[in-house]
């Protein structure tokens, strides 16, 4: 448990650093983004939101306050989830825009990443178990090649061939027009249908990573004495593969989760953009192109938080899977 407590402390610290980086980022860059932001608002709009300039100044700098004052304001505003007003969604506050888009991204990346993890580790495990077998010789190179494809290229190919030419999948939006989000079958099935193609692309892009990871570790694990011992005990192959080799081999890839998940969150920007999927990634891209700095920065914070939370979940999973962490 001490291990877990240490992780928690680290995450809080990491969050703080991420916030600070986020705070410093616009201040380190040349130019003054505050002008960019203010130019998006009419004088009337500005007049209508007297506090807004302060929020923006705390966010990106450019005011007359000292950097420390800004920093305090910035942190206290973020604690209250006040990221200012989105200029591209005026007059909606940034938090509302994020609240509206983030669930889709979480859904997309959650499902896709979970699947890619299952499939990737499954294939990796099996390929290592049967070195030189069909899975090892066909699926492994295939997924490896697929993951070498830039995600946006795979997405374009998917859009062109599977979406447009074959017409198998809807090619944009998160659900059919005319439906309202809610927990009903019609909406959920539609949402799933719209997510299919993006999910396939994420699968193509990320399964290979898990797979190679798992395969490598599994090959090492198979050489471990406890696996030899399990064989010697006369256990069935399946049992040895899953409970002796697999259970142990899955731990290192889980620990590499952070980097992979963070990069998958990044991949969302491309995939959502190409499939016009109204998630955080697309919103981020549009916010940056539209100089909606407040929104862009808030999204960066929120995505970092997502990665941290995902890491935390993985740590819990790790804790469940690895007794050494629990009692060590």
């Amino acid at each position: 448990m001490r291990w877990f407590a240490r992780r928690l402390v680290f995450y809080v610290f990491a969050l703080w650093v991420a916030l600070t980086i986020n705070f410093l980022l616009p201040r380190m860059m040349p130019g003054s983004p505050i002008d960019g932001i203010l130019q998006h608002l009419t004088p009337a709009q500005l007049a209508a939101n007297p506090g807004i300039v302060k929020t923006y100044e705390a966010l990106v700098g450019g005011g007359n306050n000292s950097i420390w004052q800004d920093y305090i304001t910035y942190l206290s505003r973020i604690v209250h989830l006040d990221f200012g007003v989105s200029t591209s969604h005026y007059p909606a506050p940034v938090s509302q825009v994020i609240g509206q888009t983030l669930p889709y991204s979480i859904f997309l990346v959650g499902v896709a990443f979970f699947l890619s993890f299952l499939i990737g580790t499954g294939i990796g495990m099996f390929a290592a178990w049967r070195r030189g077998g069909a899975v090892d010789n066909i699926l492994v190179p295939t997924f490896m090649a697929l993951s070498a494809f830039p995600a946006f290229f795979t997405a374009l190919l998917g859009l062109y061939f599977l979406g447009l030419k074959a017409g198998w999948f809807p090619i944009q939006h998160a659900y059919d027009n005319g439906l309202s989000p809610g927990f009903n079958w019609e909406f959920l099935s539609s949402a799933f249908r719209h997510a299919q193609l993006p999910i396939l692309v994420i699968l193509a892009a990320y399964t290979g990573g898990w797979m190679l990871n798992m395969r490598t570790v599994m090959i090492n694990t198979i050489g471990e004495d406890y696996v030899t011992m399990a064989h010697a005990k006369g256990l069935s192959d399946r049992r040895v593969m899953t409970w002796y080799a697999g259970r142990n081999a899955i731990l290192p890839p889980l620990n590499g989760f952070a980097a992979l998940f963070a990069s998958a969150v990044g991949g969302l920007v491309f995939i959502e953009y190409i499939f016009s999927y109204p998630g955080a990634g697309l919103t981020l891209q549009q916010a940056v192109l539209g100089n909606d700095y407040a929104l862009a920065q808030a999204l960066l914070v929120v995505l970092s938080v997502c990665v941290i939370v995902a890491n935390l979940l993985m740590d819990v999973l790790n804790l469940i899977l690895d007794p050494r962490l629990r009692t060590g």
Partner: protein
């Protein structure tokens, strides 16, 4: 405006008749391009983008008189007739007597007066410059239930075409009770327009149903409007290609092949050549743009034909140097001026060279140096995602061939100088002209508008 290199303008709109897809579409389905996901806000005063931008303003709130772009005749709307008097300083408007708000109340002159003077209640509601320094309105008064009299401080030829076009009428009984307009989201709008009920709203589409109380008989002809979010031109094209969307007003590259060819019978497009031309605006206070010779040379160095073909897929013809003949074909009457406008827009690198060297510019090899001896750079900033614009920049890039130029993506805001923003149509107004700016400083004088896509 010294230099108006007319490139091309406005929006080629794709339409397909509702017939074919009537089965699938109950509503007329429309889309724009580069819309961010929708946020439920139907407050016309805080509107910058959809859904409460000009499109929805029109659906719920109507002006008194509508003047279309391109110098066309004003069309009576809520005001069925009007009369200037007192040396064109007094405007008397007669309102439609059957107009009603969608909650069933009558639309009367008090609503109109309220709308004009609402800026006094909240600055945000000022559509006519009432609270600004240049206020030209003396008074707005109701005379009876259906007559409104507006007194101006001085005659203004653009008052109907521009100011009136901007002023929509809102129900007094609703808005006068709003404390803080800025934070009012108006989620159940009460308006006089043809559509009044938001029957469906999500971040990616919404549906507006007919106003049962609409005052114009038999209108609107479609039962409902559905507006679908499209995050880019590309997304919009995909939507219209597949027939999911009936109408859009964004740029479609190569529309013949990309759209019409898919269903020649039902898919159509038009390009409003009567709109304001795309033009290069220079900040004439900045050297070397302050030199007429330099601007002249620039104009001659641009191959407008090619720009039109490549940048705009030939939708919009090249214009002359004045650039108003699409918009106001009859404005220029002097034959000599016409001829000169033509020459000045004729592509001729040699002529450009001559002009430049005549004005003290020099060439070292293929590089151009200004009279001060500095190398000339042109920074051209374009808006990412506005594909036609970006193209235009690209294809014009090489035509004068001698100066090294760098192009940058910018957001819509920074380096653009919109000089033409009076169009009532959303798209044109949101589309700032590309400005040539000096390499060093960006013009502070010009304001900005619009957003990137």
């Amino acid at each position: 405006v010294a230099l108006a290199a007319a490139l091309s303008a406005s929006t080629p709109a794709a339409t397909n008749s509702p017939i074919k897809f009537a089965a699938g579409h109950k509503c007329l389905v429309m889309t724009g391009s580069g819309d961010p996901t929708f946020i439920k806000n139907f407050n016309p005063y805080t509107a910058t983008g959809l859904p409460s931008g000009s499109f929805v303003q029109g659906a719920f709130y109507e002006p008194l008189i509508v003047t279309a772009e391109g110098g066309l005749k004003p069309v009576p709307w809520l005001a069925r007739s009007w009369k200037w008097s007192n040396g064109n300083k007094t405007l008397t408007l007669n309102l439609a007597r059957n107009a009603k708000w969608s909650d069933g109340q009558k639309l009367t002159s008090s609503d109109v007066v309220y709308s004009f003077l609402a800026g006094r209640q909240d600055k945000l509601m000022d559509r006519v410059g009432l609270t600004g320094a240049g206020n030209e309105i003396n008074s707005v008064k109701a005379r009876g239930r259906y007559k409104v009299v507006i007194k101006l401080k001085a005659p203004d030829s653009q008052f109907i075409a521009v100011t009136m076009n901007r002023q929509f009428i809102v129900p007094r009984h609703i808005w006068s009770k709003i404390n803080k307009v800025a934070t009012f989201n108006n989620t159940r709008p009460v308006g006089s327009g043809p559509f009044s009920v938001i029957s469906h709203f999500t971040s990616q589409d919404y549906v507006l149903n007919k106003n049962a109380h609409y005052w114009q008989k038999g209108m609107p002809k479609v039962p409902c409007l559905e507006y679908v979010q499209a995050s880019s031109n590309d997304a919009a094209l995909a939507l219209i290609q597949s027939g999911q969307v009936d109408w859009t007003h964004n740029f479609v590259p190569n529309v013949e092949k990309a759209y019409i060819a898919k269903d020649k019978k039902h898919f159509h497009s038009f390009y409003a050549t009567t709109a304001y031309p795309i033009s290069l605006m220079s900040d004439t206070t900045k050297y070397p743009y302050s030199m007429p010779a330099f601007r002249k040379a620039l104009s001659r160095a641009i191959d407008r034909k090619t720009v039109s073909k490549l940048g705009e897929y030939g939708y919009a013809p090249p214009t002359d140097a004045i650039g108003l003949n699409g918009l106001f074909p009859n404005w220029v009457t002097d034959k000599k001026v016409k001829a000169r406008a033509k020459t000045m827009s004729a592509y001729s690198p040699n002529a450009a060279k001559t002009i430049l060297t005549g004005a003290g510019f020099t060439y070292h090899g293929s590089r151009l140096y200004d009279p001060h001896g500095d190398a000339v750079h042109l920074d051209i900033h374009v808006i990412a995602g506005w594909s036609d614009w970006v193209h235009t920049r690209r294809s014009s890039r090489r035509s004068s061939g001698r100066s090294r130029r760098r192009a940058r993506r910018t957001g819509s805001s920074t380096r653009t100088c919109p000089r033409t923003r009076t169009s009532p149509r959303g798209r044109a107004a949101r589309r700032p002209a590309t400005g040539f700016t000096s390499p060093t400083r960006r013009p502070r004088s010009c304001s900005t508008s619009g957003r990137a896509r």
